[in-house]
Symmetry: C2
Subunit: 145 residues, 2 copies
DNA sequence: GGCAGTAACTATCATTTTGCAAGCGACTCG
DNA sequence: CGAGTCGCTTGCAAAATGATAGTTACTGCC
């Protein structure tokens, strides 16, 4: 679908978006992180249509970000838990949140606090090699070749 | 649309996704960063339908991530440049790229190199206060109240 | 001047996805 | 037995997306 002419699907951003590249998927992950792991909780919290939620949960499960677990046999009840891949995606949501707060943050917003220090978390994307925030140093793009 | 019951639109992630919450928008930003700033360049690079591209460019411009600039009066030719808000979003794309590489990275992928060191960039989201990667320390969510 | 070519779109229509409302199966509780 | 809850599915309408063709405004080239 993406990556036509010059770079046929060789962009890692593509690869990421193939799995989570839509609004509802990300909001589902966000809510699950908040502890809303069950279908009904997600549906009422998000105000999403039931068929859409079912589809998203199935997609995220199929993509390996969520895991469906039966927490009660009788009556049959399920919950959705984050896998390692899903948990690894959460920092990205925090970064999106920081951006949203900065550029669209009118009104009162929720936020994350560091339990130990009590301070509000300020997510920043850095390069683990240099330690510098991304954007502060010149970069060069290298093709897949 | 989002944020029904408990938290009516108070989540900064929502706020972010309201502006860039779809696949094409992000890929457009990615390509513009790569220097593909013109309509035709974007269209051929992405393989996107012209009407959709036009809509996305208008949306991103309206949302303040892009700026349309006429680089030639006669013939009339335009290009799209990143604003500060748009440039601020790029680190998020890098983080998504890192995630995509990790969990969906089969085959040869392109990557960013630090011009100075020549090393491949390894994007990580940290908390600017503690310096610790997000996910490595317990957090608590605070409502907007 | 006339014709081909290019960039940046718009218009039209088919297809796909989303959203809403209602219903259904499996069970529990009173 | 009847009402209620959870986790969905089904059917249908509305909206978004995608494919294709056409339009505008030019620049060459002969």
């Amino acid at each position: 679908m993406t990556g036509h002419e010059n770079n046929p699907g060789s962009c890692p951003v593509d690869r990421g978006l193939m799995r989570v590249g839509d609004r509802w998927s990300m909001l589902v992950l966000r809510d699950i992180e908040r502890g809303l792991t069950r279908y009904e909780q997600l549906r009422t919290s998000l105000g999403i249509a039931p068929n859409i939620l079912a589809k998203r949960l199935a997609a995220l499960t199929g993509a390996g970000l969520l895991e469906k677990r039966r927490y009660s046999q009788r009556p049959p009840r399920d919950e959705y838990l984050l896998t390692d891949a899903g948990r690894d995606f959460l920092p990205i949501l925090m970064a999106i949140g920081a951006w949203g707060r900065k550029y669209n943050g009118a009104g009162a917003l929720s936020r994350h606090l560091d339990v130990e220090t009590g301070e509000a978390v300020r997510p920043v994307v850095i390069d683990a090699n240099s330690g510098a925030p991304i954007g502060s140093r010149p970069l060069r793009l290298e093709g897949p070749d």
